[in-house]
Amino acid sequence: MAVIEAIETVYLEADAASVEFSSIPATYEHLQFRLTARSSYAATGQATLDVQLGTGGGAVDTGTNYSRHYMRGSGTVDDASAATGSTAIDCMRAVNANETSTKYSPSIMDILDYANANKNTTVQATTWADKAGSYPELGFASGLWDATGAVDRVKFTLTGGSYNFVRGSEFTLYGLKSS
């Protein structure tokens, strides 16, 4: 039996407003997303890459039930921020369309004990948006979904759905087993 299994890979052949993983089986201990993403927003810099979670076979929760902490290095700037009562966890970044066309932002996001229906769900993520010149952004984040349902759906958008993921963005969901 494999310890780490690739559950699903989504490779965008065309721009898309969101990427959603549904019917995630509850047969793993933990989940990990590995992705490289790029935003359609015609600007330099990066868009926020947001996460929403769902349970019980329904749609993702769009209520103000998410929190996050984010700390970053950006050029010589190091700082940290937090948000509560949000409609998504903005814990990752994706470079915008005016950056070099072959740059995509890598991120890793872990969801621990996602199938446990007695614990609020937390995520942790690391992300990198390589902006030309000054102020690239390297981020390390945590997120909380204030709900105890077993996670069976995960949705990714850019800045609340304002922009598209560009063709070539790629997302893979892995399941980690402990036994």
């Binding site: 494999a2 310890v3 780490i4 299994e5 690739a6 559950i7 699903e8 890979t9 590995r34 490289t36 700390m71 970053r72 290095g73 950006s74 050029g75 010589t76 700037v77 190091d78 070099t100 072959t102 740059k103 995509y104 932002s105 890598p106 991120s107 890793i108 690391t126 992300t127 990198w128 948006a129 390589d130 010149g133 000054s134 102020y135 690239p136 952004e137 390297l138 390390f140 070539g168 790629e170 893979t172 969901l173 892995y174």
Partner: protein, 193 residues
């Protein structure tokens, strides 16, 4: 030629997503550790993986308390690497960016004057190594020197669309110390719909 493990009786399967490619544990000090794709369709062939992960436990022989560890890809020594570093040293956090570098900074490890037998961990994720994208990297390092040290998270880019076929691991100065270990894993995507 034998099939890769994910092909069973001629049928594509999704088995273990992380595949151990190779491990090098140094028997003597060495300036460079190299992993090269075997290009033969077997476990060591980088072309079959989506991502690569490098796990290192390292100390260097140069006379300093600690120093930075770097990667170069496909023997590219041009000014094609950039990185964003974010680190803490026990009392403060700080950040710095690097552009136009000839090698990619992926972390900091203990050097020769650090407490004896202290090695540092460096974990490097290399994304979409066979795509036409610039190659991007996320890394974490821990150089705890028994009362001093640094912890770091880094992002990096190799400004090349070439598939990664070789990884050279070097220190900013001096050799990797004997007993340092380096393991490379290949990460498969989901292959069966």
């Amino acid at each position: 030629m034998a099939d890769p493990a994910y092909i069973v009786d001629g049928v594509l399967t999704d088995g273990e997503a992380w595949v151990g490619i190779a491990t090098t544990t140094l028997g003597a000090d060495a300036a460079t550790v190299t992993f090269t794709s075997t290009d033969d369709g077997q476990v060591g062939d980088f072309s079959q993986y989506m991502d690569l992960v490098l796990v290192c436990y390292v100390r260097a022989a140069y006379a300093a308390a600690s120093g930075d560890m770097y990667l170069q890809f496909n023997n590219d020594t041009g000014a094609n690497y950039e990185a964003q570093l974010f680190y803490g040293n026990g009392s403060a956090a700080s950040a710095s960016a690097q552009t136009g570098q000839v090698k990619l900074d992926v972390g900091e490890v203990p050097y020769d004057t650090a407490t004896s037998n202290v090695f540092g961990g460096v974990l490097v994720h290399l994304f979409d190594v066979n795509s036409g994208k610039y190659k991007s990297v996320l890394s974490q390092s821990a150089a705890d020197r028994d009362g001093a040290g640094t912890v770091r998270v880094s992002g990096g880019t190799w400004q090349s669309q070439a598939a990664i076929t070789e990884i050279d691991i070097i220190q900013v100065a001096g050799d990797h110390l004997a007993a340092s270990s380096f393991s490379l894993f290949g990460i498969l995507p989901r292959m069966v719909a």
